[in-house]
Amino acid sequence: MHDLTPITALGGSAARSDTIAGLTLTERPDVALASVAARLGQETATRAAVGTLIGTEAPGPGHLAGGEVRAFWIGPDQWMIEAPFATHENIATILRAVTGPAASVTEQTDAWTRFDLSGEDLVPVLELLSNLDHRRMASGHATRTTIHHLGCYLVRSAANTASIYGPRASAGSLHHAILGAMGAGL
């Protein structure tokens, strides 16, 4: 076992959490990510493999599916798979064992930083951040969107929770933007 101590995207040794006006924003370094893209002609096999990984049918465009291991669609025949970091730090190897040569798997864990925004009504906050019809983004929706010039994924896993995945290097800027919207009091 190696002895290097990780830091979170915001630079801390523990995940940061902020509560403003009944809304909570939490850093989530405890997840591992990898992209799975079908090889040419292996689209069906890859979709099936993704289904096996998440225990349900692979989600289509704009959607999320699964439980503890979950997947969201990120491009034609391409998914992002998320799993607990503690058990899946080596996620690419784990996934490759399932997909076999049907898919290209790329570790994405530290390409992104996940923030969970939770609270009674998230729409007023999300409307200040991204140009999606948030009132109609029900649980199970997941899509790419732009937040303050940053390409992010927005994943709605529950009515009162939104997971925002932003580029890890810009975690500070993204965090600042979300906190600003939370504090706007709209």
Partner: protein, 95 residues
């Protein structure tokens, strides 16, 4: 503008990057005897229609698909949106 993405549905044009004339997909054969002239035309010669125009847009803030969009350059009306990969494959398919 709003671009009706074939997979996502309507998305704001600010998520996209514009490249230009969709003829950029018709890259000439490098082995042709007229390759020099063909590539010159490919790289530099464009129609500039006032009206419907087929053009390439990249969904950078989305699924990173290249799209072929038919857009009226006068009114900005968009009449057709296709995945460029599908268009390219169709062009290559034996007739």
């Amino acid at each position: 503008m709003i671009i009706d993405h074939p997979l996502f549905g309507p998305r704001d044009a600010s998520e996209f990057v514009y490249l230009g004339d969709a003829s950029l997909m018709d890259r000439p054969d490098w082995k042709s005897e007229t390759a020099a002239q063909d590539f010159h035309a490919y790289a530099y010669l464009r129609d500039n229609p006032a009206g419907p125009h087929r053009e390439l847009w990249f969904h950078e803030g989305g699924d990173r698909s290249w799209l072929v969009i038919t857009r009226d350059t006068v009114t900005h009306e968009i009449t057709r949106v296709e995945l460029a990969r599908d268009v390219a494959r169709k062009q290559r398919a034996p007739q």
